[in-house]
């Protein structure tokens, strides 16, 4: 299993309310442990995952932001965000808990083309 494939994990759901965001993150971390290059792309309500100061304890959920903060330790530092998804929700890169690269829809299409495996949650 020496072949390297470029993985893109697309996360489109909000951090709480369904298991999608957590599962996307777990998939990214596991794939990185397999020493594959992993990028993440946040689309739609998925951008809410990046908000600082999440307080999910009130709904008995673990803090997803804390796990997201660990991504760079797994060498997952290519984090992409749909610019219009962020801005249409009244957010900007300064609201994000990690450094992210903003992409428009053309750049997103290019990003997807540049990866071998695309997993969408």
């Amino acid at each position: 299993m020496s072949t390297n494939k470029r993985f893109l994990i697309i996360s489109r759901r909000p951090p709480y309310g369904s298991s999608h965001a957590r599962d996307a993150l777990d998939t990214a971390l596991t794939t990185a442990v397999f020493e594959q290059p992993v990028s993440m792309l946040f689309l739609d309500d998925g951008v809410y995952q990046l908000l600082q100061a999440q307080q999910p304890a009130g709904i008995q959920q673990k803090n997803l932001g804390a796990t997201l903060s660990a991504l760079p330790m797994y060498d997952i530092d290519q984090l992409y965000v749909c610019d219009s998804a962020l801005r249409s929700r009244g957010l900007g890169p300064d609201d994000c808990l990690l450094p992210v690269q903003l992409l428009d829809s053309n750049a997103i299409a290019q990003l997807i083309r540049n990866h071998d495996v695309v997993l969408s949650f």
């Binding site: 494939k5 599962d23 998939t27 596991t30 794939t31 442990v33 495996v117 997993l119």
Partner: protein
């Protein structure tokens, strides 16, 4: 071509669970091979031995099992997603001191690494229901 399938959809709640099965059948009929079918999220319910749908509706766990026996399919269920939803094999039932186990025969509980490995060695990884 070598395919792997990621099944995220729960049977009866989402058509994706059924579509994944039909896709697998079509793949094999056309001479492709399936390296692994990985059940994740609510998709793990597709591996329960206790599903009892009406007789005129498909029993997906039984269908997967039959397909696996014919084509030697590797049906892997994410262990973390499974045990928190109450889908256990005999080992996990013992470990968590539960009164029974319900993993359909020919399915196997294992880690997310099996999904990563499947993506690496397959030509195509197709997701159903995420």
């Amino acid at each position: 071509m070598i395919f792997s399938l990621l099944v995220y959809a729960a049977p009866h709640s989402h058509q994706g669970a059924e579509t994944a099965y039909r896709f697998a059948v079509a793949c094999l009929a056309q001479g492709h091979s399936i390296h692994r079918v990985f059940f994740y999220g609510d998709g793990v319910h597709g591996a329960t031995a206790l599903a009892a749908p009406p007789q005129d509706e498909p029993n997906l766990p039984a269908r997967w099992q039959a397909l696996a026996q014919t084509h030697k399919l590797d049906l892997v269920v994410c262990i973390a997603a499974a045990v928190r939803r109450g889908l256990l094999d005999a080992n996990e039932a013992r470990r968590y001191e539960k009164p029974g186990h319900n993993l359909q025969q020919d399915f196997e509980l294992s880690g997310l690494g099996q999904l990563a490995e499947a993506a690496i060695v397959s030509d195509r990884l197709i997701t159903f229901g995420a």
